[in-house]
């Protein structure tokens, strides 16, 4: 997986070819538009994500517990 900034909403054809080289992937010309479209669709989801907190502890991200956190009623008033 390329280590680059995920803030850009989409990549163009030139950037796409560079990414393919970097990732060691070979995508034929006829399939390239389909893969690029899918990549940009996924990149488009980035704007929905909140910023990563500056005090984030990376180890906390590795595991996900679906259990709901305890919620105080006062916390629910928006």
């Amino acid at each position: 997986m390329p280590d680059r900034d995920g803030s850009s909403a989409s990549v163009n054809a030139d950037q796409f070819r560079a990414l393919l080289r970097e990732a060691g992937l070979t995508v034929s010309e006829d399939r390239a538009p389909m893969v690029l479209e899918e990549l940009n669709a996924q990149l488009g989801f980035a704007h929905l994500f909140p910023p990563v907190p500056s005090d984030l502890i990376e180890a906390d991200l590795a595991q996900f517990d679906p259990a709901f956190p305890t919620i105080d009623q006062k916390d629910t008033a928006e």
Binding site: M1, R4, L25, A41, F49, P50, P66, I71, Q73
Partner: protein, 467 residues
């Protein structure tokens, strides 16, 4: 009781066996005969274990008669999605890339639990390649053979719907149990994330993968859920577990109705069925509360990104090796795009996942919800030759159209049960999802059971193709 595989439920089969109305051998033989008759049209199975199933049936009958052995699922015909290991069989995952794999040496843990409880495996059911998609070719929908059965557990749902097994195992990473259940008129339960073992199940996205049952009624689904959850001793108490909440059935049960996202851009017949369903819930005494989960779109994005990145990592060698051309082009495209996503996307998705879980938790707490009700899918089963479905806002690719409403619950990890809630103008099934708090599989089953019994949609069965 007549042994009619077109209509019999799993619990009715248990009763028939216990009352000696038919033997295990007769039940399995009838199931296999129906499989022979329907498979040329339906293609729900990758492989049928005819000889082994009949031999096991004879062993079970002898154990029942001579030694009075009773096990909770004894003699019941069950289908297993072909990403679960069955000892002595290849796990092909619907992919030409796995034609030469060795046979599995052990059952997947949940398969082992079913076998231990007496289930008889009819065969391996068709899956979308590596469980990554919703088409499940070559399987077709038993309600209309020109349409897909949904996926990725399409073979499991189609075989249950047509009666070539009475229950089946599926997996759900982005909707792969609920989508095929919804579009084949069956019941599918996606349990809480990480509560059931996935040992021996080929992974798609480990941070999202869940396993669960598909069957013909809520009670049948609960039987299988309890078995794979290592709680088979509780199967005898299912009637008590599914008791009404009061004289009206759903008295004072608080159900959230999404005002946005889950009710937007869905086919008109799906919307009409959903509105009729929530009116039924209200008539049964449920208190309906409008809720607006503003993070639903974010939760869907979380599930999409985690799925793509993790599945690309799992299939790293497949998309770079000489055999990449053997992958289905759509599957390969998904994995390739996932491999190109920047590292930071996964990190951001993981942060967003916890935010989505916390925000839905606040909604359940604020409105004191027992469950949320939503359409299972935005569209009915698309035709197999269509890449897009028609929706009020225009056309949408089949994949997003079917997964858009299921994926948010994979992100939060909540349990969801999909039950039939009607038909569209072409008589294709439509599904209703009941979404619970984490670990409340029994609560949502109890709610879904009251709805199911009040509507009887689940008693309408697919026409017997080829039978």
């Amino acid at each position: 009781m007549t042994l009619d595989l077109a209509t019999i439920s799993l619990r009715e089969a248990i009763s028939g066996l216990n009352h000696r109305e038919f033997s295990v051998f007769e039940l399995i033989r009838e199931t296999l005969l129906r499989t022979r008759a329907t498979e040329p049209d339906l293609h729900a199975y990758v492989e049928v274990f005819e000889e082994e199933a009949l031999q096991t049936a004879l062993v079970h009958d002898r154990a029942r008669e001579k030694h009075k052995v009773r096990r909770p699922l004894m003699g019941l015909p069950i289908g297993i999605k072909d990403i679960f290991d069955i000892a002595g069989r290849k796990t092909l995952c619907g992919s030409p890339l796995r034609q030469d794999v060795e046979v599995a040496t052990h059952d997947a843990e949940v398969v082992h639990r079913l076998r231990r409880d007496g289930a008889i495996f009819i065969g391996k059911t068709v899956t979308q390649e590596f469980a990554a998609g919703v088409v499940s070719a070559p399987c077709r929908n038993p309600w209309d053979l020109d349409r897909i059965p949904g996926g990725s557990s399409g073979g499991s749902a189609a075989s249950v719907a047509i009666g070539t097994c009475l229950g089946a195992l599926g997996s759900d990473t982005g909707g792969s149990i609920r989508i095929p259940a919804s579009v084949t008129g069956t019941v599918g339960l996606k349990p809480t994330f990480e509560r059931l073992p996935v040992t021996g199940v080929y992974p798609l996205s480990p941070a999202l993968d869940t396993v669960g049952p598909i069957a013909r009624s809520v009670a049948d689904t609960l039987v299988l859920y309890l078995a794979i959850a290592n709680r088979a001793a509780e199967i005898a108490r299912i009637d008590a577990m599914l008791e009404p909440f009061g004289p009206k059935k759903l008295d004072r049960v608080r159900i959230g109705i999404p005002a946005t996202f889950f009710t937007e851009n869905i086919q008109p017949d799906v919307k009409a069925s959903f509105i009729a369903a929530i009116e039924t819930l209200e008539s049964l005494g449920a208190e309906l509360i409008d809720v607006d989960w503003r993070d639903a779109a974010m939760a869907r994005a979380v599930a999409a990104v985690i799925n793509r990145v993790e599945s690309a990592a799992i299939h790293r060698d497949h998309i770079r090796g000489d055999e990449a051309d053997k992958l289905d082009s759509g599957t390969r495209m998904r994995f390739e795009a996932g491999a190109l996503l920047p590292d930071d996307m996964l990190r951001r998705a993981r942060v967003a996942r916890k935010a989505a879980r916390d925000s839905i938790a606040r909604i359940y707490a604020e409105y004191r919800l027992d469950a949320i009700a939503a359409p299972s899918t935005a569209a009915i089963a698309p035709r197999a030759d269509c890449l897009f479905v028609d929706l009020p806002d225009g056309t949408e690719a089949v994949g997003p159209a079917l997964t858009r409403l299921t994926m948010p619950w994979n992100a939060t990890g909540q349990p969801v049960i999909s039950v039939p809630c009607g038909f569209d103008a072409d008589e294709m099934p439509i599904g209703l999802s009941i979404v619970g708090k984490p670990d409340d599989e029994l609560g949502i089953s109890r709610i879904a059971h009251q709805y199911e019994q009040a509507t009887n949609w689940f008693r309408t069965h697919a026409k017997a193709v080829g039978a």
